[in-house]
């Protein structure tokens, strides 16, 4: 890669950090291979969405402030989650509305934060990672990624360019998987019925892998698939792409 490198910071998200660290490895591999000078500010924890959605806004604010400080010096912030990025870009401004001390700092973070697939396709202008994977895949368009972040074509473009990857259609794709953060435990019985419907749609598609931009949903869907003894795997798009690339 010639010229100066593009500098970006990775916001790993608490779910990926603790439950799916391989997704982090994959993001690093892909971004570095494509000329990004990536750093990882160690003070990051969680965006605060669980508290925000449950109505505990003071608690959410505290976590948000931590994240804002952590990425203050970053040029770009990239994260493998449409939902956590939506929290930053959509909910932080609401959370700090009228707060003169923080409003401008929020604005600054909002302007430089990107979801992983959007960063690749829209900022780096990369649609083909040169990956090869002989698998049948369905893409689950996560709710916050599509409806709030308006991520539609980016993941599809990336998947289309993986050689030998067969992208199948997911029936009722736009329907929520039933995760919803605390919803999944607070209304567990309803959440179960919703994810079961999602699982049936995935099985109907004939795919080996369900992929997407968000680990909350994939952990929910994958957890149900495995619990019911199905062999279909739920894998984050970064990991799926990285696994198809040469080391």
């Amino acid at each position: 890669m010639g010229g100066s490198l593009l500098r970006a910071s990775l916001f790993i998200t608490c779910i990926a950090d603790n439950f799916f660290p391989k997704v982090g490895d994959s993001v690093v591999k892909i971004l570095r291979k494509n000329g990004v000078d990536l750093d990882f500010p160690k003070d990051q924890t969680c965006c605060g969405q669980p508290a925000f959605n449950a109505g505990y806004w003071d608690e959410a604010k505290d976590l948000a402030k931590g994240l804002i400080r952590t990425f203050e010096k970053s040029e770009y912030v990239v994260s493998p989650s449409g939902s956590c990025v939506a929290m930053i870009k959509h909910d932080y401004p609401q959370l700090f509305a009228g707060d003169q001390l923080w409003e401008s700092r929020v604005k600054e973070l909002v302007s430089k934060t990107y979801e992983f697939s959007q960063f690749l396709v829209n900022v780096l202008k990369i649609e083909d990672l040169g990956a090869r994977q002989q698998v049948k895949v369905v893409y689950h368009p996560s709710c916050h990624a599509t409806r709030i972040m308006e991520i539609h074509e980016e993941p599809i473009k990336l998947l289309h360019n993986v050689k030998e990857l067969e992208l199948l259609e997911l029936p009722n794709a736009d329907q929520c998987c039933g995760f919803g953060g605390t919803f999944s435990v607070k209304m567990a019985a309803v959440s179960e019925e919703i994810v079961e419907e999602k699982v049936r749609n995935i099985l109907e598609s004939g795919a080996d892998i369900v992929t997407g931009t968000d680990l909350g949903c994939l952990m929910n869907i994958g957890g149900r698939l495995e619990h019911q003894g199905h062999s279909v795997q739920a894998i984050h798009i970064a990991q799926l792409l990285a696994e198809g690339m040469e080391a």
Partner: protein
């Protein structure tokens, strides 16, 4: 009644999840309605511009409601109608009863009105010896079943044709077959007789036009037209926020309503009624009484966060895309208004987050409702704001608040966060089966009963990062 309205929300949900035929009926119908809406919106083109226009019109009306209500009322009176303001449910019933008594009426033929459901008018009339006849087919079905509506557009959406045939057979005293022509024939014959003999006709009001004092009824069965034309007296129950300024604005909202509700370009009947019949006119009622109903709506007025919900044009699109409604149906909400809009407005209309405060949690916050709303009400955001308000009002459990305080304590500080996750790794061991967890205490068990939960990784990413860095430096 078979809906456990008095039980708490959790029990009602559990009850609903066990009702297989209801859930199948709802899935089938809402999927069709949703697909019809998407198709209609696409054919229309510029759908989001139409939504924006609908939003602007309705926002403007709500922001200037006192002005438009006065204009509307003046124009109704000028056209020979009478206008009443009813603050609460009892007031609505009182006004209706005054009119009923004046005319010594025995029967009231009704077309669909959600306000009537809100104030439980049928029961109030029944208790006073007056027969209320629902002439909307679906309303008639649920009246026979003695159930509240489970959807604002399709009140009997939870019933399949066999259940309907059973209800009709019981009413007829003979077997009515479950095919559509037989069901229709029975309903038509029974209802038509009642139209012709009713003393009073009562309708709802989809829109009210301030500039002309007209009310607009949108229906597919024509019963609204009959109920507002045949009896000598016409009573209109109108939510105080139903107003549009003029005919040009009506065009915009009439483009949005049927498309959003059923995917139709327009419904079979759109009736615009301006006053009772005037001298020389061949038909129409002799009297028209418009009751403008508050019933909690002013609770939302002036509330920066929640006033937006008054824009609602009652199309039901949010019901048809809601993954929660799809599973539990309308009765589980326990309110006249279910679905996402019901979860928002029920606690507000009742000004009661103590008893209705659980409804806003009936959402995965997937935002499908906000996306479907033809007047761009940010429903999922309002649900979160209601949760915040409920916590502030002190109605969330102290355990829950404690949990989020603990969350802040550990996740609000990088060092404590690392410590918490490391502890988590060791604490999870008794539950670990391979790479996932099973069982565990609540609330974790809510998840693990039906799904595996991933185990905390031995080496979190932040630790791997150090190794990745070391590796790349060595290279």
């Amino acid at each position: 009644m078979t809906t456990l309205m008095n039980e708490n929300f959790k029990k009602r949900i559990k009850f609903a999840l066990h009702n297989k035929s209801m859930r199948e009926a709802i899935k089938k119908a809402t999927t069709i309605l949703k697909n019809n809406r998407l198709k209609a919106a696409e054919e229309m083109g510029d759908w989001d511009e139409w939504r924006q226009r609908g939003k602007d019109i309705r926002s403007h009306v709500i922001a200037n409601l006192d002005y438009y209500l006065k204009q509307f009322a003046d124009n109704v009176r000028a056209k020979g109608g009478k206008v009443y303001y009813a603050g609460q449910a009892e007031d609505v019933i009182q006004v209706v009863m005054e009119i009923v008594n004046q005319h010594q009426a025995k029967t009231v033929a009704k077309s669909k009105s959600m306000i009537s459901e809100e104030v439980h008018l049928n029961k109030a009339l029944y208790d006073r010896g007056i027969e209320a006849i629902e002439t909307d087919l679906a309303e008639y079905i649920i009246q026979l079943a003695e159930e509240p509506p489970s959807h604002i557009i399709v009140p009997a959406i939870h019933k399949n044709r066999n259940e309907i045939a059973d209800l009709f057979s019981k009413e007829a005293g003979k077997e009515i077959s479950s095919d559509t022509p037989s069901l229709n024939a029975f309903a038509r014959k029974t209802l038509r007789e009642k139209f012709l003999t009713a003393d009073i006709g009562l309708t709802g009001c989809n829109f009210a036009i301030a500039e002309t004092g007209s009310i607009v009824l949108v229906s597919n069965e024509g019963n609204g037209r009959m109920v507002s034309t045949l009896p000598k007296v016409h009573i209109v129950l109108m939510g105080m926020e139903r107003i549009v300024p003029n005919f040009s604005d009506l065009e915009a909202v009439l483009n949005l309503l049927p498309r959003s509700a059923t995917g139709q370009k327009y419904t079979s009947y759109t009736s615009i009624i301006s006053g009772p019949s005037h001298p020389g006119e061949l038909d129409g009622p002799e009297e028209m009484h418009v009751i403008i109903v508050d019933n909690g709506r002013t609770n939302l007025l002036g509330e920066k966060d929640f006033q937006e919900a008054l824009r609602c044009i009652r199309c039901g699109a949010c019901f048809n895309v809601c993954p929660v409604y799809r599973q539990i149906g309308g009765h589980a909400y326990g309110s006249v208004y279910g679905g996402p809009i019901g979860a928002v407005i029920t606690p507000l209309l009742n000004n009661d987050l103590k008893n209705w405060g659980e409804l806003p949690y009936a959402s995965s916050l997937c935002a499908a409702c906000s996306e479907a709303c033809p007047v761009m009400i940010p429903l999922h955001e309002l649900l979160v704001k209601l949760r915040y308000r409920r916590f502030k009002a002190g109605y969330t459990s102290s355990m829950e608040h404690m949990a989020f305080k603990v969350f802040r304590h550990y996740f609000g500080n990088p060092r404590r966060y690392r410590f918490a996750m490391k502890s988590g790794y060791y604490l999870q061991r008794p539950l670990m089966r391979g790479n996932h967890l099973e069982g565990g205490p609540t609330p974790l068990s809510g998840w693990t009963n039906s799904r595996y939960f991933p185990a905390v990784a031995q080496k979190p990413f932040r630790q791997r990062w150090d190794e990745i860095q070391k590796g790349s430096e060595e290279r």
